[in-house]
Symmetry: C3
Subunit: 342 residues, 3 copies
Amino acid sequence: MADTRFFRRSGPFSLGSIAQHVGASLSRPTLADLSMHDLASLDTAGPSDVSLFSNGAYQGVAASSRAGALITSRKLGGLMPEESCLLYVTDPRLAFALVGSLFYPARTPDAGIHETAVVASGSTIGEGCQIDAGVRIGREVTIGLGCHIEANAVIGDGVSIGQACLIGANGTVRHALVGSRVRLGSNSCIGGEGFGFVPTPKGLLRQTQLGRVILEDDVEIGSNSSVDRGALGDTIIGRGTVIDNLVQVAHNVRIGRHCVIAAQAGIAGSTEIGDNVMIGGQSAIIDHVKIGPRARIAARSGVMRDVPEGETWGGVPAIPIRQWHRQTALLARLTERKAQED
Amino acid sequence: MADTRFFRRSGPFSLGSIAQHVGASLSRPTLADLSMHDLASLDTAGPSDVSLFSNGAYQGVAASSRAGALITSRKLGGLMPEESCLLYVTDPRLAFALVGSLFYPARTPDAGIHETAVVASGSTIGEGCQIDAGVRIGREVTIGLGCHIEANAVIGDGVSIGQACLIGANGTVRHALVGSRVRLGSNSCIGGEGFGFVPTPKGLLRQTQLGRVILEDDVEIGSNSSVDRGALGDTIIGRGTVIDNLVQVAHNVRIGRHCVIAAQAGIAGSTEIGDNVMIGGQSAIIDHVKIGPRARIAARSGVMRDVPEGETWGGVPAIPIRQWHRQTALLARLTERKAQED
Amino acid sequence: MADTRFFRRSGPFSLGSIAQHVGASLSRPTLADLSMHDLASLDTAGPSDVSLFSNGAYQGVAASSRAGALITSRKLGGLMPEESCLLYVTDPRLAFALVGSLFYPARTPDAGIHETAVVASGSTIGEGCQIDAGVRIGREVTIGLGCHIEANAVIGDGVSIGQACLIGANGTVRHALVGSRVRLGSNSCIGGEGFGFVPTPKGLLRQTQLGRVILEDDVEIGSNSSVDRGALGDTIIGRGTVIDNLVQVAHNVRIGRHCVIAAQAGIAGSTEIGDNVMIGGQSAIIDHVKIGPRARIAARSGVMRDVPEGETWGGVPAIPIRQWHRQTALLARLTERKAQED
């Protein structure tokens, strides 16, 4: 179970109400009144915990799990002992995520502005907002209903933030228009100056960076990530896109909706990324290219040109993933043959 | 135009005065009195905006642009319709950057120390400095004229900062001597302990890190970057060098003047980098090597040995870039041939 | 010598007492009463400085060094002029590290809670702790004896921290149980939400992240690094493991004892790393793999599967390092041959 020092649990809930919450049918309907107190992993769950069996590779662990009930598919459920208490659903991982938020609902902000927070003139803080200690809010800032600005975060002049957002501790948000339900990790920096310089005989001259960052609704960004503002236009991250820790998004990048960008990836200036794109960890995408919708970029790739819609690319420079795998395999084979000849 | 919530615009300026400011000659001198109100990109500019045409690939966009005037070269200008209002210069990008700082001059700090800032004993804050809310300045710190220390930044004991510097919000500066006109992004960390340990039978023993960080004049560093102090000597970043976001500079690294280091690059301990070197994004340079002046390192390279002056290297391990391109091409060809044989 | 603005020196110490402190024998015992005032590198040391000669490549520099005494091995000492004042030890680097902490002992915290720090109700701060300006400590936090929490750090509700820890300026620690003598760099983020989402027809649904971060005794983490908390179980970093700057540790990762993880490395979710593993800079390790004890991963590698105990791997995808070197060499040779044929 989750550590109560950090998480507040709801419940207990009956198996029947859990089944209803996630749209499941019970393998043993007579157990509908059984009380479940928590969720847990297969190996640590006890008789009053709900657990998840979504991957056939864990059949053995699932069969010996002491969990009171398992969320699973009809197909995987067939691998379990007959007496198992199963919750059949079409998407077990989704159902388990819903059970997670049932037992551990999102915290409602404790409305109030801490006495050590500073809110400059002309700013509007919506009802129900929690503004923690040491927060600095600039001039003419607008913050919507029910936001939580964590301790020591800094919100620059003129920034606009929608409803129900979370700005992490020690985060910095400037030159940005932020939608609703946006979540920013701690120590992340939104709206910094883009990396734009012009060489001159006397050295590099900074180009004034006059754009903004637009974070649409439901965007999530991890900790220690940087999103620079545009040079003239805007840097835009589309609705529902999620970005991990330590990611770099350069000036004038445009990212579509519902993209997934893993940790330490970097996207160079003015690149355009379509909807539903997935980018693996530590990948780099060069400036001024276009990544088509639903494309996937393998971890540690270096994308140097446009990637067509729906394709999966990998390698440095990145190429279609099958080609890359063939190249890797051929080089291994040639090396082995050479070693045998020597 | 730039969002007035974030940027304060000067002007309007006559075409003639703009031409004079950037050293341009007008294609249509009779328009010298025309008022220009802003700058904009080719596709969004209107009749009172100055725009930039510096790349022949954008000829079509430039020809159909509604911009009141285009900054361009004589050569590119020849591609434009005869009636176009052009500002001829030898370096259009430089001229456009100068127009940017004409319309949007750098903000002068609002002199004053916010009541929530803490300045420890023995520290000196120069005239005209703006010290924002929540800033923590240690003992015996010296800050020159006209600096802006943004909210919640932390300046450690003994640090010295020159004139007209900008220290970003939530940034940390310690064990450092900082020149003038230095700009540090938000959430960056200057002067942390270098990563030096000695193995012992009982585990790793930290080597006391007794050096400093020297940032010479006009250095710029982005957000979420780390520059560690030296172990015995200093970590030095030369005059006018610019460093992007999420970059790692390890202890005792010495970087020359006017270098450009892109996002997420990493430079390991004691490596020396000459003047005017360019390092691409996500590149790594191993410890204790020398990169000659004017060398260029491609994005995502892994440099494992010295790079001679003026050369361009790429790949992992990095080699001269043409060799790397040939290797990449050969492997692709061999793989294709193999596929046809199978 | 170290800059006295930043470092407080002890001493002077006699050569004899230094020899005793590090278990050295003196090449010239008659000099045991000589006073040494500091330590320095070979090239900058003067007659009252101790320096280090631990690498034969520096024989020339060592021979011409003006250092008052050199810490070295008997073997390397044989390369020095006969009149040299040498401190013979079996591990010169270790001895020099010990001399470093003799002249520059770790600072004892200045006990006290700054008036601008905020400590929420139910929290316990141990004796001798130094809580700097702007620190925010949540509810029900426990901090042991003699810790130093630097300026503007944020400690979340329920966090527990052992004795003699250092939490760097602008750092964030949440959902974490921290051992003793743990040191966290500035602007690092411990305990953020893991990157776990389930795709749904309406977009990505965040999985509630209900685990913790466990940092065992003597863990050190650099600046701008991120360690996410577990999804259900915990993210664990074992005793004595040291982690550099800008490193990503994802949810449910388990790292053993005495590992060394260099800058900008990234470890994806649920991966297990044994004891005494070394991971080079900018390396990535995919999720759900196992790295055996004493394995070494070369810088810039991309590990896609399990690495056996004690092996050294490199490349992307990573393979045993000799194989990788052979592949690299073969490709270079083939390319050269092809160039000659053309």
